[in-house]
């Protein structure tokens, strides 16, 4: 049998043909794969490279350190302190999360509410993401956790930074506070740093108005992550830029004195440099501890703050609106003198009341002051005298004069929430009530009653303007970061010098002449004398019948119905440097506590004399020069 026949030959030939055909097919397929590679890697390579980077590179924000807030001498009013905290990493808790929390719960206090929050946080994150177990631990607690660490699997001690207000409620209304970011905050602000867990932003006060500057800008750590989001390594790091420090004009020593002096009353007080408007102290009592808001207020604490009838959450110095009462009279007098409505020797015969239209306007002194001049009118605060002045001046004059002294407008202080108050006028009444101005209302406005509403800070501004003759405005930020804050050019108050001198003389008589309403509470120390103006503001309507029967003494009324006590002053009377205003809600109880407070505060500030002391180095030579120019 032949091994190799013709049939074999034919099939070998067929095999060779078909194999070459198949080889061509294989070559075509390999070529197609090459073309596909060319398409993916060369043509679309850049696109895929971007996608690969998006996959694997994740930017992690680094929280910036918040700028400090300092007083004029460099005392830290708001700073950052170490926040000792304990974190849990679920995947490292060998016995499970519950067991780990049980163990840590024997070392530090964990309430059921804490536990629920921790478990909720854990369930939202991946297993390797740390969740906060407890924050703001004391050093002792933190040390205890560290001591027990060897058998606390999954527990990680950590030191962060948190806001600290060492002076607590003394500065609550000036500084405000920081608190967790709310969804509305995130909508209003596109700074990505807000998304950092646990990040805090300013919610009130300077913390709010200068939040952007204090906040700084976030750093970015570019990390490589794997498909599960776990960080493999850090690729690059742009460190966070810390926020700017804010140097205030406040003198913390004085602030502390003021707060202690006015404590116990529902009260507001401002102390100002009459030459520049720099605010040296600004207080509203009662207040709250801003640290609470940073850590988190409990519902009980929050309800307590809301329900307190002394309104600790309201900054009365800026947002409290009060009828100025007699403290408004220097403004009316000044406007009238300047407008020529009266002359310095203008006199009125006070009989205890004035009939105007079909209404009787009473003086606070039932039987009248007799013949009374401008000087005595201010010193004794004669209502009938000022009814007459107001009639001569008219509401338009009162309105214009009050505006010149800073009433009816925001003072522009760098603390949010300030209110403008009300200086009524014809146009205002038309716009607000839709009816015409009544001439009788001019009389009420003349003694700071009726529609007139002012803030304690505006009152202090008025005192500073009358004292200096300049249109100063209150400012509380001295240096921001490295830049001294520009002060607007000082302009002369648009009143004649003679008019100002006459009013100053009247205010001097209030405290320094025996007939004055506040003579008993004057500053007796030579060279430290203060000039001022008392005031009280009714919060209830006194009927004609009560006028006839004798007005009920304040002491006999419920607290809420008592008059507000107001006092504005500046010192030294001869060469004014400091201005002060005190408003005590429902506080008029005979002994003029407002005057006594202002007396003590003005004496203290003059003796301490913060304006003579060198302010803390304001960082750069330029800002030092600027600070010197203002000093």
């Amino acid at each position: 049998m032949p091994l190799f026949d013709r049939k074999d030959k034919s099939r070998y030939a067929a095999f060779t043909r078909r194999t070459l055909l198949a080889g061509g097919g294989i070559g075509a397929v390999l070529g197609a794969l090459g073309v596909r590679l060319y398409q993916l890697q060369i043509l679309e390579g850049d696109e895929f490279r971007t996608k690969a980077e998006e996959n694997s590179v994740s930017a992690r924000l680094i929280a910036p350190l918040r700028g400090r807030i300092l007083d004029r001498f460099g005392i830290e009013l708001a700073s950052n302190r170490r926040n000792y905290r304990v974190l849990i990493i679920p995947e490292q808790a060998l016995g499970g999360v519950d067991a780990a929390l049980d163990t840590i719960g024997r070392i530090i206090l964990l309430t059921d509410r804490d536990r629920a929050r921790i478990l909720r946080d854990i369930s939202r994150n991946k297993k390797f993401v740390p969740s906060t177990v407890a924050e703001n631990l004391t050093w002792e607690e933190f040390a205890r956790v560290n001591l027990h660490l060897p058998y606390l699997s999954g527990i990680q001690p950590d030191v962060g930074e948190t806001r600290d207000y060492p002076y607590g409620d003394e500065l609550a209304h000036v500084l405000g506070y920081v608190a967790a970011v709310s969804p509305t905050d995130e909508q209003a602000d596109d700074d990505p740093v807000l998304e950092l867990p646990g990040f805090r932003i300013g919610k009130r006060g300077i913390e709010k108005s200068l939040d952007r500057e204090l906040r700084g800008s976030a750093g970015v750590s570019r990390v490589e992550v794997n498909a599960y989001g776990r960080v493999i390594r850090e690729l690059s790091r742009d460190p966070a830029a810390p926020g700017s420090d804010v140097w205030l004009t406040l003198d913390q020593d004085l602030q502390k004195f003021v707060v202690q002096r006015i404590a116990g009353e529902s009260c507001a007080c401002a102390v100002m440099d009459v030459a520049t408007g720099d605010v040296l102290a600004l207080a509203s009592t009662p207040a709250y501890d801003p640290n609470l808001f940073n850590i988190g207020v409990t519902p009980q604490q929050w309800r307590g703050l809301l329900e307190d009838d002394h309104h600790p959450l309201i900054d009365k110095a800026l947002a409290g609106l009060y009828p100025p009462g007699s403290t408004f009279k220097p403004a009316v007098a000044l406007a009238a003198l300047d407008a020529g409505a009266i002359t310095p020797d203008f006199t009125v015969d006070c009989t205890g009341s004035l009939a105007f239209g079909n209404h009787i306007f009473h003086c606070w002194k039932k039987h009248g002051h007799g013949r009374i001049s401008l000087h005595r009118g201010i010193a004794q605060s004669c209502d009938v005298f000022f009814y007459n002045v107001a009639r001569r001046l008219g509401i338009d004059g009162i309105e214009a004069g009050a505006h010149k002294l800073g009433f009816g407008n925001h003072t522009g202080i760098e603390i949010p929430g300030e209110r403008a108050g009300v200086i009524p006028g014809r146009a205002w009444k038309e716009a607000t009530y839709g009816v015409k101005w009544l001439e009788g209302e001019t009389l009420n406005a003349g003694i700071g009653q009726g529609y007139v509403l002012v803030t304690p800070l505006q009152l202090c501004t008025m005192a500073a303007r009358i004292a200096s003759g300049n249109a100063v405005s209150p400012r509380i930020v001295r240096v921001l970061g490295r830049e001294a804050q520009e002060r607007p050019e000082l302009t002369k108050l648009a009143f004649s010098g003679d008019a100002i001198a006459a009013v100053q003389s009247g205010m001097n008589a209030v405290t320094n002449e025996p007939m004055g309403t506040a003579f008993r509470w004057r500053i007796p120390n030579p060279g430290f004398e203060m000039a001022g103006k008392t005031g009280s503001a009714q919060v209830r309507k006194i009927s004609e019948a009560e006028h006839l029967a004798g007005v009920t003494k304040n002491e006999k009324l419920p607290w809420k119905l008592r008059d507000h006590a107001l006092f504005v002053a500046y010192a030294p009377a001869s060469a004014p440097r400091y201005a002060c205003s005190v408003v005590i809600e429902h506080g008029r109880i005979g002994q003029h506590p407002d005057v006594q407070m202002a007396r003590d505060i003005l004496l203290y500030v003059q003796q301490r004399d913060p304006l003579k002391r060198t302010p803390a180095w304001p960082v750069s030579a330029a800002s030092l020069a600027a600070a010197m120019r203002h000093a």
Partner: protein
């Protein structure tokens, strides 16, 4: 074709002579390809020999011994062993249906003591051997005779359908492809081929009906990867990103973010070449394709130079089997076809695949060594 004296054909070579007949250039070539695989396994472990590169190297070493051993065995012995091997593989396939373990939702292997056996892998070799043996006995015109063809079709379809039932679509497809290509190369009439091809296309909608849900999902996902970008489409999307992001020259050894950071699923097995594309770019991939083409070219040359039809068909069957692996895996990883579980030969991590590929190359080498052996159509081989 060169004519060789008949005596030479009858001569039995010594072991030493046979060893010298092994094409060591070919062995070097596949060692280079396998080394690319080791490098990728090393890279994907973040620059470590464990857990993948070292075992892979050990397997390749065993594979080389197997290759040499298989190459030294006379081609006539393989011819005699063809039907028994097919039968055993077929029985194992049935066994896997009964006692097979459930792995990845499919019954694919059985355990014999310490080793796991994937009968479907054995069948790829056994089918080539058995079909070659069968076709060796047929003259050219007999191949196209219905009754002869029917036997061949049953030999192909019986194991392929069993594998399809496992279910293992990829391997079943390769079995069909291997079988039909051998029929084609053995000279099956175009009168059979063209109408069948047309019928196959017409049958696609019917076949769709019989696919498993996960297989349908894979096809749907392939057609629109974005429809399920984080689910089944993830594999395709991430593999394309890996390859595409390599650009011209790649990100560098051990610098591939996609593979090292676990964005690639099954990165060290079926998707191993996406890591190659990422780290060595277009240049690396084209070099790899070129090396594969050289291996295939060698296989074709070996087939054409053999003096016996059995050897020719075995050689071309092994070569095509190798090519189908490459084509399906590469096309899948590059997003050209749906995801099927087919590894890249010599590169992907995996024991059974490595050993069957090396066994196949051993057969190829045996054909090469015994290329001058002439066998009559009636021969059944020798034991």
């Amino acid at each position: 074709m060169t004519t060789t004296p008949y005596v030479a054909v009858r001569r039995n070579f010594t072991w030493i002579e046979k060893l010298s007949q092994i094409n060591w250039f070919f062995v070097l070539l596949i060692t280079i390809i396998a080394s690319i695989g080791f490098a990728m396994q090393y890279s994907m472990a973040g620059g470590h020999f464990y857990p993948w590169a070292a075992p892979q190297m050990a397997r390749f070493a065993i594979g080389l011994v197997i290759l040499a051993a298989v190459a030294l065995v006379d081609i006539r012995v393989w011819m005699a062993a063809a039907y028994p091997a097919y039968l055993i593989s077929f029985l194992l396939l049935i066994a896997v249906e009964i006692v097979g373990h459930v792995g990845l939702g499919a019954q694919r292997w059985i355990e014999l003591g310490p080793i796991q056996i994937q009968p479907s892998e054995l069948m790829k070799i056994a089918l080539v051997l058995a079909l070659a043996r069968y076709l060796h006995g047929l003259a050219l015109e007999e191949v196209s005779k219905p009754q002869k063809l029917a036997v061949a079709l049953v030999m192909i379809a019986a194991p392929a359908v069993l594998v399809l039932k496992e279910p293992n679509l990829g391997t079943a497809a390769i079995l069909f492809a291997d079988g039909f290509s051998l029929l084609f190369l053995a000279g099956l009439s175009w009168w059979w081929i063209l109408p069948s091809a047309a019928g196959l296309v017409a049958a696609v909608p019917v076949a769709w009906h019989f696919l498993h849900d996960y297989q349908k999902r894979r096809v749907m996902t392939f057609l629109n990867p974005q429809s399920d970008a984080l689910g089944a489409g993830w594999n395709i999307t991430q593999a394309k990103i890996a390859i595409g992001s390599g650009g011209l020259t790649g990100k560098g050894f051990i610098q591939g973010t996609q593979s090292r950071l676990n964005f690639l699923p099954e990165k060290n097995t079926d998707f191993a070449i996406s890591a190659l594309g990422e780290e060595f770019g277009f240049v690396g991939c084209v070099i790899m394709l070129f090396l594969f083409a050289v291996v295939i070219g060698f296989g074709i040359r070996t087939a054409m130079s053999s003096r016996n039809q059995f050897g020719r068909l075995v050689a071309i069957g092994i070569t095509l089997n190798f090519f189908f692996y490459i084509m399906i895996n590469a096309a899948m990883v590059m997003g050209l076809i749906p995801v099927v579980g087919i590894p890249m030969p010599l590169i992907s991590y995996g024991g059974t695949a490595m050993l069957t590929v090396m066994f196949g190359f051993g057969l190829l080498m045996s054909v090469h060594v015994h290329r001058l052996v002439e066998l009559p159509r009636s021969s059944g081989g020798i034991i």
